[in-house]
Assembly symmetry: D3
Homo-oligomer: 69 residues x 6
């Protein structure tokens, strides 16, 4: 499936924190660069996410803000 | 200002595409890894974004989806 | 690619409205039920979206609000 | 109240999963077509959401991505 | 229609900026406190938004970040 | 850090509700006007949010819907 999302970043799952409804996923996309994602626990289980596995962070560009020093 | 956003990624502005209301920003956060952001044109001008400048992509973790092959 | 998004709705592209930065896509997912999406113009072109083509609307469940009468 | 959201989809609540902070709502909007929503538990209680009740999924079009096979 | 969105802020439309696809709306919700919204141009026209009219900003709480000095 | 977000609203933290993964924050931005935010519990702890402290709600304008009576 091809996605309209401009931001599809490949990485390795570093950590999973599981709650009643949501799971927090930490993905390392480059040495020292991590992305954190909150998805439903049901999604995390259906995807089969686990520490050490390869996965992608997918972000719609309208959800990316910019900042400057 | 300290932000609750878990994802604050530093990079260099590669390209700006400007419309009537919105601007599309491409930020290189590591060699070959780019993030695209859509912000209002007014924000882009107020921030002073320009090609070659350093900037940050800021993403709320609830706006990050996960995918697997 | 398997996605964490819980909402992946198949339909037929009914209309495309193109701006300088964004494109508005109308997708019919069932008779009389339409979903409208705003994506970047670059994404719409890369996907090859066109009226009459099959496509999917993908929505993260944290971006769905509920309402009642 | 009239909303700017382009996507207001009527359906029947099929399932509620309740956590400490959030509730996951599954809404059937057409036979076999379901939408999943994550809202705060407080919102779910204030709305009076319950299985079998009619409700609406409300989605801002900038939060809808597109995909193609 | 009752909404799950926790943030429904009443105000007066101060300014509209219209593009090909999107419209930027500035709403004054208290003296000196403004909220800016980007909605589709079609939505702005269907709602009948105009400077001086009363309207509401509606924000899902999962889309609100926090910051501290 | 300067942000592209158009909506940065100063207020006082009124209430924190903490779950396994997320925290719900209620911020009073003017007398009788409150904003509710859902952020990760880890973010709430790193920011040091506590009842009575000053904080900001930060909202990307593309995440603000409009409504009219």
């Amino acid at each position: 499936m091809k996605l309209s999302a401009r931001n599809i970043l490949k990485g390795t799952v570093k950590q999973l924190v599981t709650g009643a409804v949501n799971t927090e996923v930490t993905l390392e996309i480059a040495p020292g660069i991590e992305i954190t994602s909150i998805i439903t626990r049901a999604s995390a289980e259906q995807l089969g996410l686990a520490e050490g596995k390869e996965a992608y962070a997918v972000i719609k560009s309208s959800n990316v803000m910019m900042a400057m020093d």
